[in-house]
C-alpha cells in the first residue's frame, strides 16, 4: 500500500459530545486533503489525533505502517522533527518568540541534524526569500513582524526540513483577506514544488478549493461526505454539504 497515513475507526467523546464518531481517512504522498466543517464539527480534534497530539478513545492511526499512538513520546517527537510538520493557526504557537527569524528556521534544521553554521544561515536566508520575507530581517524577532509575516515565517520553519506530511490548522485563520490570498498562493506553490502531502483543516471553502485535491466534510464528529474537491463543492450530495456550499459567497 502506498498510503502515507491511514486512520480507522477513530472515536473520541467529550462527555456526551462526539468529537470523532467512527472516522476513517487515508492520505497518499503528494496529496492535499482538506477537512472542512463548521466550528465544533470535530475537524481540529481530528487533526490533533492524526498528528499524535491527542489520543483517540478507539481506533488507530498508522504512519508508514507504524501506530502513531503506540510508538511512544520520543519516537513521535522524532517523527515531528523529520517526516512531519505542523502549521498552527496562531503563528505564535509554532514559533519561538525569543529567537530571531533566522534562528526559528535554522533551529529546525539543527534539530534535524544540520551543524554547519554558514550553511544553516544560508538555507535560512533562502527560505525567508521563498516565503517572501526580506532577508535583511533575518535577525529580527518574530514579534516585530506582522501577523501575515509571522505565519509565513512559521511556514518556512516547518518546511525547511522538507517533511513528507504537513498538518495545517486554519493557516489563514486570523489574517486579513488580502494577506490570506498571498499566503494561500504561497502555500499552493510550495506544496506543488516540494510534492508535500498536506492535511489542512479550514472553514474557508474558497481556500480549500484552491489548495486541496480531495475534501472531507465533517459534521458532529462524522465525515458526511468526501471526494474530489471540485465534485464535492459543485455537486454536493449531503444536505449539510449543500448548506455549507450555498452559504459561501462565490467560492
Amino acid at each position: 500500500m502506498s498510503e502515507l497515513l491511514t486512520a480507522e475507526g477513530l472515536h473520541l467523546h467529550f462527555g456526551k459530545v462526539a468529537a470523532l464518531d467512527d472516522v476513517a481517512l487515508e492520505i497518499h504522498p503528494g496529496e492535499v486533503v482538506a477537512i472542512v466543517g463548521e466550528s465544533g464539527s470535530g475537524k481540529t480534534t481530528l487533526l490533533r489525533v492524526l498528528a499524535g497530539l491527542m489520543p483517540p478513545q478507539q481506533g488507530q492511526v498508522l504512519y508508514a505502517g507504524e501506530d502513531v499512538h503506540a510508538m511512544g513520546e520520543a519516537a513521535r517527537r522524532r517523527l515531528m522533527r523529520s517526516d512531519w510538520g505542523f502549521v498552527h493557526q496562531n503563528p505564535r504557537d509554532g514559533l519561538r518568540l525569543r529567537v530571531s527569524a533566522g534562528g526559528n528556521v535554522g533551529e529546525r534544521l539543527m534539530a534535524a541534524g544540520a551543524r554547519h553554521y554558514g550553511n544553516i544561515r544560508a538555507e535560512a536566508t533562502e527560505w525567508l526569500k521563498r516565503v517572501e520575507i526580506d532577508p535583511a530581517r533575518i535577525d529580527d524577532m518574530p514579534l516585530q513582524f506582522s501577523g501575515g509575516m509571522q505565519q509565513r515565517l512559521q511556514i518556512a520553519r516547518t518546511l525547511v526540513t522538507r517533511p513528507k506530511l504537513v498538518f495545517m490548522d486554519e493557516p489563514t485563520g486570523g489574517l486579513d483577506v488580502s494577506v490570506q490570498a498571498r499566503l494561500l498562493d504561497l502555500i499552493r506553490a510550495l506544496v506543488a514544488d516540494l510534492g508535500l502531502a498536506v492535511l489542512i483543516v479550514t472553514h474557508d471553502i474558497a481556500a480549500a478549493r484552491l489548495l486541496a485535491h480531495r475534501m472531507l466534510v465533517m459534521r458532529r464528529g462524522q465525515v458526511v461526505e468526501q471526494g474530489l474537491t471540485d465534485r464535492v463543492l459543485d455537486d454536493p450530495q449531503h444536505p449539510y454539504t449543500q448548506l455549507l456550499v450555498s452559504s459561501v459567497l462565490a467560492a
Binding site: H28, E31, A181, R182, L184, D185, R188, L210, H213, R214, G227, L228, T229, D230, R231, D234, D235, Q237, H238, P239, Q242, L243, S246
Partner: protein
C-alpha cells in the same frame, strides 16, 4: 502520449468511419443524472436519462439541444466534476478504460492530468499567478520541463493574440475575451487525448474564432477526441463531424 501509441491514421476521421477506428476515446453507458435539492425540501430534478455517447479519437462531436436541456451537465459529468446518478463514463487512459463516475479521487486526477482536458466558459482565476504560468502548469504537471512548458505556453498565447506584455500578469484584470483565450491556451497546450469544450468561442471576435477553429482541426488531426457545446452554429459546422442531441427531460419522457 497514449493517443500516439494507438497507431491512428493522421487523416481526420470521417464520421461514419468513427466506429472502425478501434477503441473509443470516451464513451458513456446509460448515464443518468438527477439533482436532489435538500435545501428546497428534497426536490429532485432529473436532467439526464440513459445517455449513450461514444467518441472516437480524431472525432469532434457537438452537443445540440435547447438551453437547459443538460448539455453543460453532461459535460461536467464527463469530466467528473458532477457525479452520476447511474451509468458510466469510460475514458481510455493509460491503455485501459477508467470509469470516471466510480474512480477514486486520485485516479480522476491522473486521468485529468494525462488524458482529459476541459475548457470551461469561465476562467477560475488563481490570484497572483501569471498568465503564462497558468498555461504552462498542466504541461509541467505531465513532466514537461519548465523552460519548454513556458515557451510552449508563450507561443500558444501569442497565437491566440495575447501579446507578450500580458504574459507576466495574472489574468484577474483581463477582459472576458482575454480570459477565455487564456483558458483555451491552458486547455489546448497539453494535447490531451480527450478534450471537452464548453462554448469555446462565446466571447471571441472573428479573428480569434478562426484561431480556435484551427486549433480544433489540428487537435483532431493529432487524434484528439473532442466534445463541444457551440452556440455559434458557423463554428459548429466548421469543426463538428456530427451532432449529438441532448433532449430536455420532459420531451424525452
Amino acid at each position: 502520449m497514449s493517443h500516439q501509441e494507438q497507431g491512428r491514421p493522421t487523416q481526420p476521421a470521417a464520421p461514419d468511419r468513427a466506429a472502425a477506428l478501434g477503441p473509443h476515446a470516451i464513451r458513456t453507458e446509460g448515464l443518468s443524472k438527477d439533482f436532489t435539492l435538500h435545501l428546497q425540501g428534497g426536490i429532485r430534478i432529473p436532467v439526464l436519462r440513459g445517455v449513450d455517447l461514444a467518441v472516437a479519437p480524431g472525432e469532434c462531436v457537438a452537443l445540440a439541444g435547447p438551453s437547459g436541456a443538460g448539455k453543460s451537465t453532461l459535460m461536467r459529468c464527463l469530466y467528473g466534476n458532477y457525479g452520476a446518478g447511474s451509468g458510466h463514463v469510460w475514458v481510455r487512459h493509460d491503455g485501459r478504460e477508467v470509469d470516471i463516475t466510480s474512480a477514486d479521487a486520485r485516479e480522476v486526477r491522473a486521468v485529468r492530468r494525462d488524458t482529459l482536458g476541459y475548457v470551461s466558459q469561465f476562467l477560475r482565476v488563481i490570484p497572483r499567478v501569471a498568465t503564462q504560468q497558468i498555461v504552462a502548469e498542466p504541461l509541467m504537471a505531465r513532466g514537461v520541463g519548465r523552460e519548454e512548458a513556458m515557451a510552449h505556453a508563450a507561443a500558444l498565447l501569442k497565437r491566440l493574440n495575447l501579446p507578450a506584455k500580458l504574459h507576466g500578469l495574472p489574468p484577474a484584470t483581463f477582459s472576458g475575451g482575454e480570459q477565455q483565450r487564456v483558458n483555451l491556451a491552458r486547455g489546448f497546450a497539453p494535447g490531451y487525448p480527450v478534450l471537452l469544450l464548453d462554448e469555446p468561442t462565446a466571447s471571441l471576435d472573428a479573428a480569434n474564432r478562426d484561431v480556435v477553429v484551427a486549433l480544433i482541426a489540428e487537435a483532431k488531426r493529432a487524434g484528439t477526441a473532442i466534445i463541444g457545446i457551440f452556440h455559434d452554429t458557423e463554428v459548429r459546422d466548421r469543426v463538428a463531424d456530427r451532432l449529438f442531441e441532448v433532449a430536455p427531460m420532459q420531451d424525452a419522457a
